[in-house]
Amino acid sequence: MTQVDIPASVPAQPAHHAEAERKWTDFFTFNSDHKVIGIQYLVTSFVFYLIGGALATAIRTELATPPSDFVSPDFYNGMLTLHGTIMIFLWVVPAGAGLANYLIPLMIGAKDMAFPKINALAFWMIVAGGALLLSSFWLETPQSGWTSYPPLSLVSGKVGEGIWIFSLLILGTSSILGALNFVVTIIKMRVPSMGIYQMPLFCWSMLAAGLLILTGTPVLAGALILLAFDLLAGTAFFNPTGGGDPVVYQHMFWFYSHPAVYIMILPLFGAISEILPVHSRKPIFGYRAIAYSSMIISFLGLIVWAHHMFTSGTPAWLRMFFMIATMIIAVPTGIKVFGWLATIWGGKIQLNSAMLFALGFIATFVIGGITGVMIASVPFDIHVHDTYFIVAHIHYVLFGGSVFGIYAALYHWFPKMTGRMMNETWGRIHFGLTFVGMNLTFMPMHELGLLGMNRRVAMYDPRFADLNVLCTIGSYILAVSTVPFIVNALWSWFKGKPAGDNPWNALTLEWQTTSPPAIENFEGIPVLTTGPYDYGKNNEDLEASSTDTPVLSS
């Protein structure tokens, strides 16, 4: 049973052929092959994850005790600013882009992305933007948090703030170029036999994320350029000392930065929708509902930004509108979660590392989702806004959601990318440490916030010390948890068991070519014979009748 017929007249290229044409130096060049770029993105973003994680560990070390005694308060603010910025703009967003780069052309039967050179440019802008941001460690760290609200950002150091702004402009431009590529590739480059409802759900989620990036990111760029004028040219768009309005910045900033959460998590929603059916041996439950829910989330994500400003300069009617809009997002998100649960229910679950991380994704993301509905409620949000409750919420969404999702995707597609299997034992150890560390770090933060601990502080009330110690121990476990993954990935890349083309016996197109795929992915144009998730269906009958017209199902 496969999803495709690849014309028999042209034999598929063997894996070693692809290996022979690919040199390790390709990964350090302006290579325009989407698979090289995908791996460049994934490896680079993981390096930034380690840097952002080291900062997080330092932040938690500072917070192990109430006074500010590990680093100076200025450097602490620099660390928390860089931690947030790196994790969002240099880890989760590029990691999603890396997966999309690698997978989308393979999943839709294309030879490459629509604009290969723009694709390479987008990747190298990540390196440039990241290097610029890291230079602030030696020059001056930005001080005003990843939100960089004026007037604080205008009075706390021009060099650091300037570096932050220009770095984000480069990263945002990269993001726009990448999104443009994803959207055009998905819409225009599918094999002729693949209708929009035969696309894998990962493509749907990247389409939704790409549209969101194209809509939101230019507004962030606008806000940053105006902020740069205020900072460096003495204008007063946001500076109240010249009659500017800092609240306008908040509107512009959150118009992008709330959707950014969905930009980060939608690709992983897609990845989870790919992983669960394969390892449960069941079709995804409610394909169309899950596909549409991505698009609905994308749209609703654009009209909820002011829920970050309930305690700020928003009038009452605006607070009510954004409360309702925000709460409604729970509905399409719930559709996805229930669809995933129904997918595994009654299946034949193989609890390998990819599946463990996918299930861990659901288990932890749902906590972030539930607290998300709570904080959408204006009266309750007024209490917990800017507290550790919010820190807990965002990490359950972006660590429990995004990071678990990225790990699940890496374990799932590693055999395709490298032609080798990862070690399962080390994968399970990695999962166990990550799951325990994550919950120990972030669960107590809910209570800290409710009790009265504000966020972004280097010093806090000693009555919060015990819970903070728990969080810090959890963060150390999380730091240690990356070691088995790094060792496993490096060792398996070179010495792992050969995977074969389709070790999971999966149906989507990327598994129907060699591992790793040849340079132009497929020999000839694949013709679909089944839907992407037709597990358990009697496909022999379908294949028998599929010589000319593809038999498709959703």
Binding site: S144, P240, A363, D386
Partner: protein, 337 residues
Amino acid sequence: MKIPSSIATMLAGIALTLVSLWYGQNHGLLPVAASNEALLVDGLFNTMMTISIGLFLLVEGVLIIAILRFRRAKDDTTDGPDIDGNIPLEIVWTGIPAVIVLVIGVYSFDVYSQMGGFDPNAAGDPAVTQVAMTGEGDYAAPLMDGSNSHGGHHHMALGIGASPEKAGQMADLTVDVMGLQYAWIFTYPETGIISGELHVPQGKDVRLKLKAQDVIHAFWLPEFRLKQDAIPGRDSELRFTPTRAGDYPVICAELCGAYHGSMVTRMYVDTPEEFEAWKQQQIASRPDINEVIASLDRPRTDVDYLTPYADDMGLEPEMLRSLHESHAGAEVLTQSL
């Protein structure tokens, strides 16, 4: 004896509901509620906790049961059943969350309204006003005279205003609150009292008029479930009725600089007699506000700023000194808590 699955599901549902109801009322996660507004918010939170715990147990329960029951046998290479949808089921799990968020939305709307969120004075979006210009990279000059500092626009403020039953009535006590790096300064316009600690009478309708002098601060009273940003160039307010005597932390919740964590003071809810006594004592020892303002009319450091207020605010000399010491956060905190 094997229990039929429909009965087992029903029993599980009842157990889940009971656990949710119990935990929703007995979580003990919130600090003491010291105002009428806090009781309203707590009721809302308890309801949301009840629903949340039910959903949490449902999802995690299904995950755990699926992992335990539906594992693939080692040598089984066949697929599971080809079930890929069920329209009635999908309608149910779209409809139920939609109803839940609608209920929470209506309840939140009601609580917000009762708290005074829809006070007409607070509903307008006030014009932005310019705060005083200062040298580059420095802080705006202080605008201590709260009654006339923002150019006379008539919209009141953003934030929480009078509750519906007090709409149109003057508050019993109004206090001007000025946030600056890294302190709150409270001015009582009727008496001219300036203080670094907030004193309010128990059971009275209190209105705080919030302003910020330099960067954005957020005025947070955890025990009162109230928070509002103080934004340079914009007015905002908080109106509430303290019901429980005692002293409570006042916290800045918006990142306002390196010593953001030390921007902490206390709010004392006094009995009316205690409040009167405190007021008389403050009036007797009041500094001349004009002298204070005149002395601030030049570029300043944090320490210059805070020194004139140190006595009023109960700040220790160590705290001021520590503003210049990079590793002195511990002292700041210890002194200010």
